[in-house]
Amino acid sequence: MFSGPGGTVASITLRATMGRKRAFLFGLPALILVLVTVLLKIAHPAASDWPSTILGDFGFTVVLPLTALIIGTSVLGAEIDDGSVVHLLATPVRRSTVILSKFAVGAALTMVFVAVPELVAAVIATGGVTRLAGGLFVGALAGSVIYNAVFVMISVLTTRAIAVGLLYLLVWESLLGNFVSGARILSVGQYSLGIANSIAADSNLNAHLGVVTAVIMGGIVTAATLALAIRRLAAFSLKGDAV
């Protein structure tokens, strides 16, 4: 299917990630999003402000980050956990190839499980491909990329990647982001909203960052976290099999 070692890594990662029971968790948040949207559309056919609230607030505060968390920590974290990553690393494949391939798979899966449902839900909610729908879709695409870079990095750094990722999402992005405006410049959720808002121009999205800031910071965060992940993977150690 794919060619080259990167492709091999990617296809193994894809099969590994989608084959586990965890795959059921991937689609759940997005499913709920679509369901809620449909129900609300039936209850309030005249689209008022609720689409941008549900799809922006719920979608970008919950569905996007949580799904990206589950997926992003899955593509590498599970293999590090059970040791099977050794089979991958005991080859001359460059560590950057490993990280980037896994990151690409994670980002793509997140796009499928979040960005597409967002678009679908937005189209249902607003009755067509409006600016809101387009903005949300693009914002979710960007968020998929940036979040996955962060979570792949976290899974290289620690075995409790999900817990740490949760800490980041709940304490940093949710809590501090609501009370401390300075924290917003380092919040991936804000980058996604900023990008979404640049197209949708909807104040209900509560986007606090302009599109330029969002894109630049998002790019920096993505590059920096991936670089750190590559460095740490190059120093991967098998420790304490003391038996």
Partner: protein
Amino acid sequence: MTAIELRNVSRWYGNVVALNDVTMTIGPGVTGLLGPNGAGKSTLLHLVSGFLEPSRGEVTVGGAPSWRNPGVYRRLGLVPERASVYTFLTGQEFVRATARLHQLPDPDRAANRAIGIVEMAEAQHRKISTYSKGMRQRIKVAAALVHDPELLLLDEPFNGMDPRQRLHMMDLLEALGDEGRTILFSSHILEEVERLSGTIQVIVAGRLAASGDFRAIRRLMTSRPHVFLVHTSDDRRIGSALIGSPAVTGVEMTSGGLQVKASDYGAFSRQIAGLTRDQGVQLRALLPEDESLESVFAYLVES
């Protein structure tokens, strides 16, 4: 020739020293790494295979360090002990994927060859989740051999194998060693190492206790002082008779019987029966006290 070299290598975790100033060279042929559990065998293998950084000293494979050097894997194959295999792949897919990761020009052919070497051709199209432990081990070896490496590292390869699988693996490793490859495997079972390797490296408590030809070390071990527990109908009489024998270096009366230290194991064992008969004493029990591997190793470390 690609040799493995360790020079004054130490590895510690905080206060715990896993390997203590180990220097050794490993050349072609089969070398066994022998030692009790917790001695540092896995640590050493991880250091050689580039999955652990030495706290001090140098580890080189064919002249180049193995740490942070993915290129070393072109010449090295690793069969780790605890790493699980991708259970959702078939055996063939796993080996073929490994071949692709090595960027071999003809991955399919290399995979088939490797699978043939480990004799897994019949099972190769089944998912690895259906394999037994021995089969998983063999498919791991196939993946480690797919790129025809000069070096093969195996961490406790016979763990959990039944006798037939063990024999098969031994024959395989012996054949690979005869081809001129450098094979290094670890075990804590004397007999496995004895059968397979010419050279052994004995690791005890992080230190290199002995190295070299197996038979020479065996002789060294048998000529070390032995301790026996002797129980007779008249311990004191036998004790005073024994101390007169040149093969005995020490006699102690303990509550469990007579503890005898013999410097010459062969001479002592020949003498004891005749001695008891001459003294008119009934010999009730003769038990070796320190035949365990650990005490053997301990003796080697002390000397």
